[in-house]
Symmetry: C2
Subunit: 332 residues, 2 copies
């Protein structure tokens, strides 16, 4: 049995981690839930009983085998070293260590072999990166990616529970004709789209767009791959979508691309119809549809990918990393 700590247990991803551990019958011996001082004291249900959430602190990891972090970069930098020293495997969902050459950045279906060289710390990629990588890796394996243009349609739950509540309030106000003011986002999100995810950098790209490029290069082991992203928040509760236009080194017919996607673990290819966030929410796969010849990037493939960003984009991927690294759990 595995002694598990979840850091950030009251957040949207933290709660999803607990749900995924339970659904996959992860062999949890002891469970310790941590959160910031602000959220500590809350009670969270998991594995059939209520757990008190304690304030996260460096001395809380004694005896822990696995520490799942989803508490932001500052908390990860402050607490992950202590968890590692205590002997735990840390799987961190923040961006703190994702570009650290000594830390594996892993999507188990794609580069799970890198878990062999972890030194107590594995980084979980950005959600938009996981969606993109799973959707294009089968094309890359067969025909080698040359350039990728990706435009995202990102759900509000990716910004946390308060953002979900803000959108709900904005929509109610908007439908009733009341004035709406933004709080968490720079503009109103209700009946709007916001091409600004996590702030803009001096070169005009957003932080999210830059993560998608840098992390995709690491995961696909294509350090020079040109990746241009436009990341956009949309008024969707759950599941991110991406329109992907990919240029390849060699021609790949849409039928070959579909066959490759069908054979890829973690991917569900749609030959008929197309996936949308509402129906993909709650599922474990990256759903890929609208596979077609790219009309601009030749030779190339255009496709439409959708993924529950809280599951495969965050909690599920983290638990899969743990299962494989520790050799435990349903899929061990």
């Amino acid at each position: 049995m595995t002694r598990v700590a979840v850091v950030g247990a009251t957040g949207v991803v933290g709660r999803e981690m607990l749900a995924v551990l339970e659904q996959r019958a992860f062999p949890v011996g002891e469970l310790r839930l941590f959160a910031s001082a602000r959220s500590a004291g809350a009670r969270v249900s998991a594995f059939g009983r209520e757990h008190e959430v304690r304030p996260a602190a460096p001395d809380g990891f004694r005896g822990v085998d696995l520490a799942l972090f989803s508490a932001g970069s500052d908390a990860a930098r402050a607490l992950a070293p202590a968890a590692r020293r205590a002997g735990a495997l840390v799987v961190d969902n923040s961006s703190a260590f994702r570009l650290d050459p000594g830390t594996p950045l892993v999507v188990p279906e794609l580069n799970g072999d890198e878990l062999a060289r972890h030194a107590g710390l594995v980084a979980n990629p950005n959600c938009s990166t996981i969606l993109l990588c799973l959707a294009v890796a089968p094309l890359h394996a067969r025909a080698e990616l040359r350039r990728v243009v990706v435009c995202s349609y990102q759900a509000v739950s990716g910004a946390g529970a308060r953002a979900v509540e803000e959108l709900r309030e904005q929509e109610r106000a908007d439908l009733e004709g009341r004035t709406v003011e933004p709080r968490l986002f720079p503009k109103v999100l209700a009946h709007n789209v916001i091409p600004w995810v996590q702030g803009l950098l001096p070169d005009g790209y957003s932080v999210e767009e830059t993560k998608v490029r840098d992390e995709t290069r690491r995961i696909l082991r294509a350090p020079e791959l040109p990746v241009a992203a436009t990341c956009v928040r949309v008024p969707v509760w759950r599941a991110h979508s991406e329109a992907v236009h990919a240029q390849l080194a060699r021609a790949l017919a849409p039928e070959e691309a579909l066959a490759a996607l069908e054979a890829a673990p973690g991917v569900r290819a749609w030959r008929e119809g197309f996936p949308t966030p509402r129906e993909v929410a709650g599922t474990d796969e990256v759903h890929v549809g609208r596979v077609r010849r790219d009309r601009a990037l030749e030779p190339g493939i255009a496709l439409w990918g959708v993924m529950d960003q809280l599951r495969k984009g965050a909690a599920l991927n983290a638990v899969q990393i743990a299962e494989r690294a520790l050799g435990v759990g349903a899929r061990a």
Copy 2:
């Protein structure tokens, strides 16, 4: 004074045409409003009084100088010939004549010179096309487009008044936890995005995506330009957005691109912040922000464009065509 007929006067675009004519003090002598048999009999306010909407018929155009059509392709094919024979200039907002080599397809700021050769009929481009063309034409003029990838975020009002009402009902039901079923769209649009605008063709592209390519080539006089689009409906009331990634023949610095956009008529360039549909709705320009070096299409420029698709994307562009072709109106 100009005798004006509006065909499709009860639709979302028809009503916007009346509003635009009034706001621009178009010299309307007589005004005749037409619609399908289903909508005929309705009363519509324009120029300070109520007008009865009559059923559209070929004999209704006698004495008309200008016939603004926004009634779909079938009605355009059935009625435009009669309107032309009656001596009217027809400006048609449907796709019926857009690819007809004998019919000018015009965005006045870009290829208004083609109005010199109209033979009583001018086609108004697709809304997504107008947005794209106004956003990239200044780049094309300076550095020559090589390829364009465009992903759209299209408002529900582009699908008509019933679609707006359906989204409103779906959102109310969703916020109250009631079951939601789609009617006009193939999937629920509330809290969702739908990568399907006007149906899919055998090659995997949608009708809308194909219009964007074919019409952009005509308007920019670039008949071979590779244009790959992914067109997506989003739960926004009004104003379309597009993420554009454009490869150019020659390098163009973002600063040069911004200067070119600032100098372009019909365009408002944002150096600070970024435009979103909520604030662009009701305005006349194409708003362009997030101008940056493209990270995948080199040399190239990436940008974010937003436009009220009922105004510049439809009604306003049609009225501007009429003003220029007839030499009348505020901007004559």
